[in-house]
């Protein structure tokens, strides 16, 4: 349990990229990208964890309590929401590819077509 959390983040990343590389459906590829992206949240938050610490809010916890690192949480927080809109952009692209080329298989999209 010392570096295992970090390694599991690496595993999730590789699993996502593996799905992305072997994908035969662009929608599935976008989903795999979301998986790979979630590995960064796992890594960030496990790096910032402090054993026995509480969440970094001081509304009803006394000042000077042991808290976990708020910086990594701020990084992950904005990216979760922004990542969703980027996923939407990619899915919009998939819809357009489907309309113009009649397929969502990335391997079938060979060469440029007007």
């Amino acid at each position: 349990m010392t570096i295992l959390p970090f390694l599991s983040a690496g595993w999730i990343f590789l699993a996502g990229v593996y799905g992305l590389v072997t994908s035969r459906n662009a929608i599935h590829a976008v989903g795999c990208l979301a998986v790979a992206q979630s590995s960064t949240y796992v890594l960030l938050l496990t790096v910032g964890y402090r054993r026995g610490g509480t969440a970094p809010y001081f509304t009803d916890t006394p000042l000077g309590t042991r808290v976990v690192d708020p910086v990594v949480q701020a990084l992950a927080l904005t990216d979760v929401v922004v990542g969703a809109t980027v996923t939407a952009l990619l899915l919009g692209l998939v819809m357009q590819v489907r309309k113009r080329h009649g397929t969502v298989d990335p391997d079938a999209l060979t060469g440029l077509k007007g």
Binding site: I27, V35, Y49
Partner: protein, 93 residues
């Protein structure tokens, strides 16, 4: 220090759940099913983030990961299948 050790084990369980569901999501080839597995992954991630004392991130993860992303994928699948008149998806199997 006993409580902290117990918390470590709970985090380890959540971490295993996240890893397993992430692997399952990457290996699920059918986008329709993948959307469901991704929703489960989102839920597991939210639990893990809560245990890692990050309620802020868990809050946005639970809304984005379990609702928005799977919904977008399902809508895209519906659009893509709706215009393909069936034959295209069967061909790839």
């Amino acid at each position: 220090m006993n409580g902290a050790v117990a918390q470590d084990y709970v985090i380890a369980v959540a971490l295993v759940l996240v890893t397993v569901s992430a692997t399952a999501a990457a290996l699920t080839r059918d986008p329709m099913r993948q959307a469901v597995v991704l929703a489960m992954l989102g839920l597991c991630l939210a639990v893990l983030f809560t245990l890692l004392q990050a309620p802020d991130v868990a809050l946005s993860q639970v809304a984005v990961g379990t609702v928005v992303t799977p919904l977008l994928i399902l809508l895209t699948v519906r659009k893509v299948r709706g215009t393909s008149s069936g034959g295209d998806d069967g061909r790839r199997r």
